[in-house]
């Protein structure tokens, strides 16, 4: 489908070209996979200093109406009624079988909500929300916005120096806080969050101002551009799921290790038990345990084990498959994530992976591979 349509570009497209980005088609957009330094250097720079990522392809959906949180809870299994103004929470869209249609961030903006959704799913998400909640809530895809992620230990310092008004204090923001800040003179919605496992910020602002803000960030010695390649290796090390690989409509949140995304009030015995698509199946799995589970996987050799690699037990019986895998720049060896039968999901369990016709040793590992360093 996307092959026949011209690729869309983000507001930072010219900046990517000026920085010799290797551009590839991704979710209907032409996006930078890496710049001149390459994925490994961009990854390590983000872990050590700060990486600037263009994630403007993601969907930013504004939600207006009465009792927004209560209405959204009919589709999302998170505690949104309990979500304070100026906070964001991880959420899921589910089908009637409890399978995952998308994962998202829900932000309480006081008089409205904003949902940040995956690029490849954003049009389907909008249609689903309108179909199910369109009678009472208004949903608008905010196509005139850009989204910039600044990730890494130096990002708070860079943001503090970019704040135009001295009374706005970035250091008071905690992980998953959302504030309006004026950065380099431009009004922005800023959340302290990200997809790298590091401290960091995600900044939404008018598309026309995005190139100037990005250049203001890049004028700091500690900030370098980082592409989707580094974004992927960073999130794998952090054990964070990628929709379309580790999460899909055939996978439930319990299988994916996302129990925590079903907030306590929405669980069995909670104040607002169930009431979301697939609740019966998901709440049953909560108690029974899933038949398969997402685990970390450590290849014993140096050969990366990538998406689609089949897994076998010591007797060569099929036991699962790898959903994400590649090279870990921080650890200097390959890492993978995948689903295995629950009985084999204990850390240390030795399995085999079929790589180019050969069975190679791989062991189950605890996620994340690299510890999170959020500003909690």
């Amino acid at each position: 489908m996307a092959d026949h349509n011209p690729l869309q570009t983000t507001p930072l497209h010219a900046l990517h070209q000026d920085n010799q980005a290797k551009l590839v088609p991704f979710a209907g957009y032409e996006m930078p996979v890496h710049y001149t330094p390459g994925i490994i250097k961009e990854h390590l720079h983000t872990r050590a200093m700060a990486g600037l990522f263009d994630v403007s392809h993601m969907g930013q959906i504004r939600v207006d109406g009465e009792s927004i949180a209560a209405q959204l809870e009919n589709q999302i299994p998170a505690d949104l009624i309990g979500l304070a103004d100026g906070r964001q929470k991880y959420g899921l869209l589910l089908n009637l079988q409890g399978g995952i249609l998308d994962d998202l961030m829900a932000i309480n903006r006081g008089d409205h909500f904003v949902l940040i959704v995956n690029a490849a799913c954003k049009h389907d998400d909008l249609a689903l929300l309108k179909d199910n909640l369109g009678n009472t809530l208004q949903f608008e895809m905010m196509d005139d916005l850009a989204l910039i992620a600044l990730q890494g230990p130096e990002s708070a310092d860079v943001l503090s120096k970019s704040v135009s008004q001295p009374e706005q204090d970035v250091s008071r923001m905690k992980f998953m806080d959302v504030q309006d800040l004026e950065l380099a003179g431009f009004p922005c919605m800023v959340s302290r969050s990200g997809y790298s496992g590091e401290d960091g910020f995600e900044i939404s602002l008018a598309a026309e101002h995005a190139p100037s803000l990005a250049k203001a960030f890049l004028s700091h010695e500690s900030v370098d551009l980082a592409g989707l390649g580094a974004r992927d290796s960073l999130r794998m090390e952090a054990g964070l799921c990628l929709y379309g690989q580790d999460l899909d409509p055939e996978t439930t949140p319990i299988e994916a290790g996302l129990k925590w995304a079903i907030s306590p009030p929405r669980r069995a015995g909670g104040a607002r038990e169930g009431g979301f698509p697939g609740a019966d199946i998901i709440l049953d799995q909560f108690v029974q345990g899933p038949k398969r589970k997402l685990v970390g996987l450590l290849p014993e050799g140096r050969a990366p084990m990538r998406t689609g690699t089949q897994l076998f037990d010591q007797d060569s019986n099929p036991v699962g498959s790898i959903t994400s895998g590649g090279f870990s720049p921080s650890l200097g060896h390959p890492i993978s994530m995948g689903y295995v039968n629950t009985a084999l999901s204990t850390a240390g369990t030795l399995l085999q992976a079929e790589v180019r016709g050969k069975l190679l040793p791989v062991s189950v590992a605890t996620l994340p591979f690299v510890s999170h360093r959020y500003a909690r």
């Binding site: 290797k22 996979v33 890496h34 390459g38 994925i39 490994i40 390649g229 290796s233 140096r302 050969a303 990366p304 990538r306 590649g326 090279f327 720049p329 390959p334 180019r356």
Partner: protein, 124 residues
């Protein structure tokens, strides 16, 4: 140095009665940072065009096809611990394997420097 090339971006070079094989600078640039190389077994007999090695970058895996037929006599063991040599010196220290060619005519028939550069420019 009398380098010959394939349109799949492998190079081959005569050294005595052996042929040394690797991937070109263009190929390593396209792949990005190489993190793993799988090399063939010594003594294996390979046909021209047969998959003999695998080169994996952070982004992707690529197959290396033997530019000529012959018997593998030596592989570059150093790539096991330092696969980045393929990026740093693709036509030197980043060589893949040496083979004893079965048919010298195959090397002659490969692309010469000029023909290969024309191919690379057409891809830019």
């Amino acid at each position: 140095m009398n380098m010959k090339y394939t349109d799949d971006h492998e190079w081959a070079r005569q050294e005595g009665d052996l042929v040394v094989i690797g991937i070109t600078d263009f190929a390593q640039q396209q792949l990005g940072e190489v993190v793993f190389v799988e090399l063939p077994e010594v003594d294996r007999e390979v046909d021209q065009g047969e998959d003999t090695a695998v080169v994996e970058s952070v982004k992707a895996a690529g197959e290396v096809k033997s530019p000529v037929s012959g018997t593998i006599v030596e592989v570059n063991e150093a790539l096991a611990d330092t696969p980045e040599k393929v990026n740093e010196d693709p036509t030197g220290e980043g060589w893949f394997y040496k083979l004893r060619p079965a048919d010298p005519g195959q090397l002659e028939a490969m692309l010469d420097e000029e023909a290969y550069q024309t191919l690379v420019e057409s891809l830019a």
